[in-house]
Symmetry: C2
């Protein structure tokens, strides 16, 4: 499954693995794909610096990428306090009442309050890019909208291509105009922020529109619903130059984030392992923009009659930031707040990344051979 994009980036196969875990990202890169480290959880540039130094040491010299979050339209600054004051008290009361009802205890200390939301601010994302460019990223991806022109310029000066997610042709064309090098066509079935057009329709639409607008200068990856070699074959048949997989790696053996109980699958992994493809919901409760989440008692509380409408980004992020920490600390598989795509129905065991990658490649080859034989 080598596409021209593999040559450009120096990777063996066009399997891009987005993950907040440096251990998973490094394993994906070592297995011949491109591990892309999600940076939104790094509020402290020094922590990201140390993590990328670790990535440099643990990827056998193979390429890796980083992913930052720079929403197109949010107050870039203004301070936490100003934003806090814009949150209606009824929303705060609903969150507190819901957490109580679900048996989620308060945090032990308050010093972690508001952590997790800073990564969504432009100033923090810019600092992350600055830190990343001191290392050797093969890709900088932006999860929301086109990155600002100066960020793209800075990345290009360092010879680093830039990727951005698109849920519609109009987004993809905006990315092309902005100078983005790789458009990630992310379908409805994807985890996290998604649009309404499913991958089967969206991917070839964006492939055609990008080809018409930019020729071979810009590549298109398929994201959303991919977790098997057959699905990779389908994505490439649709015209994509590779696949972008996120949810799939959450059940990697190397994924240790959010684990509260030592060895064995973490609480979140146990919730993912038992979910079917019907157990997700697309909702604005996670960030203010529609995002697909694992269906749990937390998402159901927001869907119940009488629940308030989620606030716009970034107010909703701020509203639920402490709640997410409380939920994480409570360590209850029935009450998690976790982005996950419909592919969760296929995530039924904890396996090392290398083993998963081997199976993806084998199944892909079988699917292509079957097609060729028809």
């Amino acid at each position: 499954m080598r596409t021209p994009l593999c040559e450009k980036l120096g990777i063996e196969r066009p399997v891009f693995g987005f993950t907040p875990s440096e251990h998973v990202a490094a394993a994906i890169s070592r297995a011949g794909g491109l591990g892309v480290l999600g940076c939104v959880r790094f509020n402290d540039p020094d922590e990201l610096e140390a993590t990328l130094a670790w990535m440099d040491e643990n990827t056998d010299g193979k390429p890796y990428g980083v992913d930052v979050v720079m929403p197109a339209k949010v107050p870039t600054e203004g301070g936490q306090t100003d934003l806090e004051s814009m949150i209606p008290p009824e929303h705060r009361a609903f969150v507190d009442r819901t957490l109580d009802d679900l048996g989620v205890p308060p945090l032990d200390t308050s010093d972690e309050h508001a952590a997790g939301v800073l990564g969504w601010l432009h100033s923090v994302a810019r600092a992350q890019v600055d830190v990343a460019l001191k290392h050797r990223p093969a890709l900088i991806a932006n999860a929301l909208g086109s990155p600002p022109a100066d960020i793209i310029g800075e990345a290009h000066e360092h010879g680093v291509p830039v990727a951005a997610l698109a849920g519609a042709v109009s987004h993809a064309l905006h990315h092309v105009d902005s100078g983005v090098d790789i458009v990630i066509a992310q379908g409805y079935e994807a985890g996290g922020h998604t649009g309404e057009i499913a991958s089967m329709v969206l991917v070839p639409e964006i492939v055609d529109a990008v080809q018409a607008a930019a020729g071979d200068r810009v590549s298109v990856l398929a994201a959303g619903g991919i977790g098997s070699g057959r699905q990779i074959a389908a994505a490439l048949a649709l015209g994509a130059s590779g696949v972008w997989m996120g949810s799939y790696w959450l059940t990697a053996a190397e994924y240790k984030l959010g684990s509260a109980s030592g060895e064995g699958p973490s609480t979140i992994q146990r919730a993912l392992l038992s979910a079917t493809s019907s157990d997700t919901v697309r909702s604005r409760i996670y960030s203010g923009k529609p995002a697909r989440l694992l269906k749990t008692k937390w998402t159901e509380a927001w869907a119940a009659p009488g629940a308030p409408d989620p606030l716009p980004m970034p107010l909703q992020n701020i509203l639920v930031s402490e709640a997410h920490q409380r939920i994480s600390a409570a360590d209850d598989p029935d009450v998690v707040a976790m982005p996950a795509g419909q592919i969760v129905g296929r995530m039924n065991e904890i396996r090392p990344v290398a083993e998963s990658m081997e199976q993806l490649v084998g199944d892909y080859e079988q699917a292509v051979a079957r097609l060729a034989s028809l």
Copy 2:
């Protein structure tokens, strides 16, 4: 693109074309696919009889299928009057007010009232099956749920395989248990009645579940989002034995239903030609069950604040039956009530079926060759 299913049904390629138009269905069969005539619009068995006699004469001896609608759980009888009395007056008032607001005139005569809904009743669907079995259908499909056991038995006695649509693995397994021969895995992006799981995830899930439950006895078709050779290649890569396409054929040159202005594209076709993949909505307003429709002023009225919740099937069918006739007669491309999938964004010209089929095949072969070359 020959799969074993082609041998079973005596068709050249596993392209199943669902359409309410006998002219389109016959053209699909003549072009080497399997044209499947939607029967729900035939309230009068004699009219269906005459249409199938026409099909027999106009398909060059090639196979064709029929599609009936037998919802799993509705009052099979009870009479129009009993059902009418269960519709709240507020719902009727909303429909009347909305049609007035949208400038849709009343019908000239009332003798057509309630036509269009009878086809949804079991007694009518059974009569359709009886009529069909006097001809030579190669397939009987049911658009909603598993067909009743006696219908499957009757079809099998005539040597006719039975197909049913599934939006989730549980539906597919129920079909297998019921004796269905072909499961149509219909993804979220499809027009008409759809579930929430998109094709990229749903198709391989159902392929695997059906294979485990029934081996090669039952075949799986992919439906939802398919309107190009690349998408057919993707569907077969996902493990499907063929594709089921519906919306795609609405812009066939042979499609003449709903045309009010003689030559040229009909009003509905003009609405379809100008729509993008973002211009559909999944709603219960068409029948009481979630169905994807073209987004128009009619669907927007039902989504506006203050609009009532749609009624359950079959009450919603009855509620909107006359409205659909009024809308059809009004002939306004901004106010149509039409099932259509997200693939509508690719339906940008009126072409004869044979020409479309030729392009599907050519593009499919290119996609497979590209995959094989990677």
